[in-house]
Symmetry: C2
Subunit: 150 residues, 2 copies
DNA sequence: TTTTATATTTAATACGACTTGAATATAAAA
DNA sequence: TTTTATATTCAAGTCGTATTAAATATAAAA
């Protein structure tokens, strides 16, 4: 019997981390973004409009810290601030187009190693792996709501 | 025909990043480690004994910066410094046991979401996905040497 | 052996990301 | 309407990460 899926998943993640981290850190440095900054941009892309405290919670920092970090991103034109008309205490933070661009670039930098991978697989293997990953992606999306509660 | 493997790989990576980054950042914060520190520890585990400049190159920072960062890790007992007997200009940096422990914990924090995944798959799917990932892991390892040259 | 190159550290400095505590503004409750 | 709670920002101060430039130690070359 093969080793459990759980173990294989972890192994694959280790490979992934090793290859991805470097590209990501280098992108950040070369373009003068900090890791927390890119982290927020990435989260904003996924969640859309979002309050300051909400982002602070996700990052595990105080609201003051998040406010400052976002202020810098606003000044760089990567994030927009607008008032929530329903509750004017809230700010609705959203990515600008420039911000979306940065997210896209940083993801690309992080994933460039992936593009060398398909060439190392046969046609049949490619089909097999693609099918498997599609299953994983689909199921992982259902973790989303549960994750919010943690 | 299904979409190319390359695209599926990227999609899967996006999911991965989203779930992993949070656990990682929270672990770092709660345990008072910085992202660069964990990055170095992770790299040291993979590469084994390593010079200061070598690590600096990988991180994309100056040797001075790497030296300082490593000094703090040495003071925290996570990294050991020793002289290279063949060329005493070199320092050979290695993880202590405590350092290895930290790497393991940080990886676990980053991957905890993975453990909720297998339950969402049928037996057959688990088998199918495990096989596919095993292929990916095996082939990705061969990227290693080529990667060093970049 | 003097010179030059390499590997690392130290010093001075700047900057971003945190924190806590106080100030604002708005909303909801008493 | 006064009080209390919530969302965000401002202010002051600490800390880690970077930088450049200079210092140290060792190795290799002239």
């Amino acid at each position: 019997m093969s080793p459990p899926l759980s173990q294989i998943l972890h192994e694959w993640m280790c490979v992934t981390i090793r290859y991805s981290m470097r590209g990501f850190m280098l992108y950040a440095k070369q373009n003068n973004y900090s890791v927390p900054q890119l982290n927020v941009l990435f989260r904003l892309r996924h969640k859309g409009a979002c309050g300051v405290s909400e982002l602070a919670d996700e990052m595990g920092v105080t609201a003051a810290a998040a406010s400052q970090l976002l202020e810098r991103l606003v000044q760089q034109g990567l994030v927009q601030r607008s008032e929530d008309p329903l509750d004017r205490r809230n700010r609705r933070m959203t990515l600008t187009e420039a911000g979306q661009q940065v997210v896209q670039e940083s993801v690309a930098a992080r994933q460039s190693w992936l593009d060398r991978l398909p060439a190392l697989l046969s046609e049949a293997e490619q089909e097999q792996v693609a099918t498997a990953l599609r299953i994983l992606i689909e199921r992982a999306e259902t973790l989303d709501e549960k994750n919010e509660q943690v």
